[in-house]
């Protein structure tokens, strides 16, 4: 019974990671790649770690698995946000199907807004 449960959950987890990797290969655009990759891989690793926590009947292993999942959930969105923002500001091309873009006007304004605006932004970023 236990082993069947573990087999099912670990299969779902590894399939989620497989979908993430197919997504990173097939998607036409950087932003779509990012948004497929981040969540599916986090879900897959979370499920596999849940398997590990269930297999070892030890409080220390459960603590380790919980802390890994906690770190992942805490850090992955921040990393995705940082790299997505960098990609947008360095001008990575969007897919042609992207039909609405409200951030576009803002970045245009920033470039027009002369060095004054950039000086405002600089100290924030250094901290």
């Amino acid at each position: 019974m236990t082993s069947i449960l573990i087999a099912i959950v670990s299969t779902i987890g590894s399939l989620a990671i497989l979908f993430a990797s197919i997504g990173i290969l097939r998607m036409p655009d950087f932003y779509l790649r990012l948004s497929v990759t981040v969540k599916a891989s986090t879900l897959g690793v979370g499920l596999l770690l849940a398997c590990a926590a269930y297999v070892f009947p030890d409080a220390s292993v459960t603590t380790k698995a919980l802390s890994i999942v906690f770190f992942l959930i805490l850090t992955t969105p921040v990393a995705a946000h940082m790299i997505g923002r960098t990609a947008y500001h360095t001008g990575v091309a969007k897919w042609k199907g992207t039909f609405i873009d409200e951030l576009d006007d803002l970045s245009d304004k920033k470039e027009d807004g002369s060095p004054d605006n950039q000086d405002h932004a600089a100290p924030n970023r250094e901290i």
């Binding site: 399939l15 989620a16 979908f19 197919i22 997504g23 097939r26 998607m27 036409p28 655009d29 932003y31 779509l32 990012l34 948004s35 497929v36 981040v38 969540k39 599916a40 986090t42 879900l43 009947p57 409080a59 459960t62 959930i73 805490l74 992955t76 969105p77 921040v78 995705a80 946000h81 997505g84 923002r85 947008y88 969007k94 897919w95 199907g97 992207t98 039909f99 609405i100 873009d101 409200e102 951030l103 576009d104 803002l106 405002h120 932004a121």
Partner: protein, 158 residues
């Protein structure tokens, strides 16, 4: 509020010490029993925030997990089939959350739910720029988000 939480922790540690086995399941069971006892003892008092907040938090976590799983299945289906179904777009989402903590939690949750990704925050912290994979209509999406995640999260935090 914090007094009730510490009392609940103390009760659950007493339960763990009495039963003598430190497993997470045992600890959670003790926590639930302590919560029930505290709820019974504090029914006459005016400060009921703690007892409202814990069930709402658990409900929010379950709702979030359900949402993640459903949306992941949708994205997985879209990844496998050869045709692209999605209609991506970057929209400006006006925030109700004001403090840094609320914005941080909200953007973490938005980034973790599949199909949406936070790209940037405006400088006055009034709006998020979200990349959405399945964007039918902008107004409908914003209304869904407001009534779903943000309302539930702010109910817990405030």
């Amino acid at each position: 509020m914090i007094k009730h939480f510490l009392m609940n922790l103390l009760l659950s540690f007493i339960w763990v010490a009495l039963t003598g086995s430190l497993y997470y399941s045992n600890f959670l069971f003790g926590f639930l029993i302590g919560f029930f006892i505290l709820w019974l003892m504090n029914r006459q008092e005016t400060d009921q925030r703690y007892f409202n907040r814990i069930p709402k938090t658990i409900g929010f976590i379950l709702y979030f997990l359900y949402d993640i799983i459903v949306a992941n299945i949708q994205v997985a289906y879209d990844v496998i089939t050869p045709k692209y179904f999605f209609t991506p777009g970057i929209i400006c989402y006006p925030l109700d959350a004001t403090s840094d903590m609320e914005i941080n939690l909200l953007s973490t949750i938005i980034s973790l739910s599949p199909g949406t990704l936070v790209l940037d925050i405006s400088e006055d912290k009034k709006s998020l720029y979200i990349h959405v994979m399945y964007l039918k209509d902008k107004e409908i999406f914003i209304a869904q988000m407001k009534n779903g995640f943000e309302k539930k999260l702010l109910e817990i935090l405030r």
